[in-house]
């Protein structure tokens, strides 16, 4: 294992690959399985998937990097996604995004210094009648104001 990368549980990943590799088009379910389980897809796990699915490492790497959802570094404790699509823009999402960048001190795809929050952009959460919308660790929030955003960030920072 490359020593510059954080350690991850090889057996967990192998177990996920084994459980799903028989499925037609198994790579996407496997990638989701790994990320759901350990929070990201470790670059070192690429050869394991390639071998199990009889793909080249380039094919696996290419698939991972094509999709916005997959990440190859460990996330912060919480994932905070802000919708940047048109319906949310119509209700001030750009101001919310500017506020988030400023108060969190990070840009999209970055994690706050205390490791609490990874900030991500998302293009539509399907909550377009209750804009602006935000998703926190898979939980959807609607009509988010700067005040409720600050409150949310405070809660997230205090949680493990």
């Amino acid at each position: 294992m490359n020593s510059t990368q954080p350690a991850w549980d090889r057996d967990t990943v192998l177990g996920i690959i084994d459980a799903l590799k028989h499925k037609p088009g198994a790579l996407m379910p496997i990638l989701h399985g790994i990320q759901d389980s350990i929070g990201y897809v470790p670059p070192d796990s690429v050869p394991l998937m390639a071998e199990a699915l009889n793909l080249s490492r380039a094919e696996v790497h290419g698939t991972i990097t094509f999709y916005h959802h997959f990440r190859t570094t460990p996330p912060g404790r919480h994932k905070l996604e802000i919708c940047r699509a048109e319906a949310c823009q119509a209700m001030g999402a750009n101001r919310l995004v500017a506020h988030a960048r400023k108060t969190l001190g990070v840009d999209f795809h970055e994690t706050t210094a205390d490791g609490a929050i990874s900030l991500e952009a998302v293009y539509c959460l399907g909550n377009c009648a209750c804009s602006p919308a935000v998703m926190v660790d898979g939980e959807l929030l609607g009509s988010v104001s700067q005040e409720s955003f600050d409150e949310l960030v405070g809660t997230l920072r205090s949680q493990p």
Binding site: H32, E86, M91, Y123, C128, A133, G142
Partner: protein, 518 residues
């Protein structure tokens, strides 16, 4: 007597606090010794009233909303379990004008039933379409769908019956039904509402599609941004399997249909059908050349029906009440109903299912009540991020595929995103190009490179650098993208850009209509 209390499990309702209200009601009922049955239904689609709580009374269901957890004790005091008076009492749900004025066919059960209960589904006319389909030949099922005039609700509006006929006629050892549930267009949420509010109607529609074309396996390709829909779909699929509505021997007919949910991973382009198929196969979501059509060589190289959620969810009522009945709704070549979605800066945002032909103005003002901020509505983007921005002068156009097309706009998936007069249309045009650059799969040059150049040209225009020249450049660039892109992403990204430029030239620093300035 047990009183039924309904609180939506729809994710938009939850985003406004429905789970907390449900917990508060359960707690308060237990504390007071009231016997209630809490049903987590879908949303009726009136989101300014969510979380909306309904109670069953002898007169019908009475609605209260928007309810906050703090209101719950007071509601019990006001005898809301028996429809008591309270300032949140909205009267009988079905009498609320926004709801009463609709024509709900595809959404007939959404908000009414428990989404994952087979018994509730059957009690509200569910699986009648499938029962009919099991008695018909595949060709007759296809004929019924053709008669209905149903066209692809994902946006392309291709006749569903013709697509099915092609797959039915193809010879292969395996065929597939693929549901495109990658509802990525901003301002649209009808797919999500069906999947969370009545997933069984989608399952029934896909099963009928399988019978019609001879496919035994179906996949629902669901975007990863919809985790609540994934839960509801999987619960409903398990329930259907347990009761013999899915599996190797559907209702003892000897017919087979299996269904599986597959999750996307945040790529807008995977809503394009060939890119979606690549993704289902476990690859990068790169668009394929056509031909071959997916109907002949689709998933894993086999004949495949790829239909949008709403298209498939409209099939059960067509097989239940007949294609002729369905096609009586609508205008021109746009038959049936469309679930319109009112989004963005709108006072009464939500879902309005109605026959085609309603005007934009009726939707925005009669249903939507104008902008949420109370300022004048300046522009409406119809049909998602690739749809045109429509100015006030066109608000009397009817919502119909052909009529909008004639006016350089499109209906798409039926979403209307409303902007008030504070919008900067040059920035929206820039975002149109930026979004295309972010989401381009990269296979064709006009989309991959053109979108980035588009952002740069608009930036120069806004900065005032040789504006007349930039207008010519932007129009030529859009022309190249329109004509030379492989799929709708690059091929339609110019629509929002050009519509912004044509209708709102002043936002680009152009004093007169863009054509003359150029």
């Amino acid at each position: 007597m047990t009183i039924k209390v309904y609180i939506p499990r729809d994710s938009a309702s939850i985003s406004l606090g429905a789970d907390k209200v449900a917990r508060a009601i359960a707690f308060e009922a237990a504390r007071r010794g009231a016997t209630i049955e809490l049903v987590r239904n879908g949303s009726r689609g009136m989101f300014w009233l969510e979380p909306m709580v309904e109670v069953s009374t002898p007169e019908g269901r009475v609605a209260y909303g928007p309810v906050k957890p703090d209101d719950v004790a007071e509601l019990f005091e006001a005898d809301f379990l028996y429809g008591g008076q309270h300032h949140l009492n909205l009267g009988l749900t079905e009498d609320i004008p926004y709801f009463a004025k609709q024509q709900r066919l595809t959404f007939a059960r959404v908000g009414i039933t428990d989404p994952v209960s087979i018994d509730d589904y059957l009690a509200h006319d569910g699986y009648r379409g499938l029962a009919n389909a099991l008695k018909m030949t595949p060709a007759d099922i296809v004929e019924e769908v053709t008669t209905s005039g149903l066209r692809g609700r994902g946006g392309a509006a291709f006749p569903t019956g013709i697509k099915w006929r092609t797959v039915l006629g193809a010879q292969a050892d395996q065929k597939y039904i693929v549901c495109n549930a990658d509802e990525g267009d901003s301002g649209t949420f009808s797919d999500r509402m069906i999947m969370e509010g009545d997933p069984l109607v989608l399952i029934e529609g896909m099963t009928i599609a399988g019978l019609a074309v001879g496919a035994t396996m179906g996949y629902i390709y669901l975007r990863s941004e919809y985790p609540y829909a994934e839960v509801a779909l999987n619960e409903a699929i398990a329930a259907a399997n347990a009761r013999g509505y899915l599996g190797d021997d559907i209702l003892g007919s000897g017919k087979t249909f299996h269904l599986e949910v597959r999750r996307g991973a945040g790529a807008y382009v995977c809503g394009e059908e060939t890119s979606l198929l690549e993704s289902l196969e476990g690859k990068r979501g790169m668009v394929r050349f056509k031909p071959p059509l997916p109907a002949l060589e689709g998933l894993f190289g086999k004949p495949t029906v790829v239909n949008n959620v709403i298209s498939l969810a409209s099939v059960p009522i067509i097989l239940d009440q007949g294609g002729a009945n369905y096609q009586e709704y609508g205008v021109g070549r746009s038959r049936g109903t469309l679930p319109f979605q009112l989004a963005g800066n709108i006072k009464y945002g939500g879902l309005v299912e109605a026959a085609f032909g309603l005007s934009i103005r009726e939707l925005l003002y009669d249903f939507g009540g104008g902008s949420r901020t109370g300022r004048p509505i300046r522009a409406v983007q119809i049909g998602g991020p690739l749809g045109a921005y429509v100015p006030e002068s066109q608000f009397d156009l009817p919502l119909d595929y052909e009529e909008l097309g004639k006016n350089d706009a499109m209906l798409g998936h039926g979403g209307l995103v409303v902007f008030d007069d504070t919008v900067d249309m040059a920035q929206m045009a820039r975002f149109g190009m930026e979004f295309c650059a972010i989401e381009s799969c990269g296979k064709c040059t006009p989309c991959r490179i053109g979108s980035t150049r588009g952002v740069e040209v608009i930036d120069r225009m806004v900065e005032g650098k040789d504006r007349p020249k930039q207008v010519i450049l932007l129009r030529e660039l859009c022309d190249t993208m329109l004509s030379g892109s492989l799929c709708a992403l690059g091929g339609m990204a110019p629509f929002p850009v050009l519509s912004a430029l044509n209708h709102f030239p002043e936002d680009f620093g152009l004093a007169e209509p863009a054509d003359k300035a150029a």
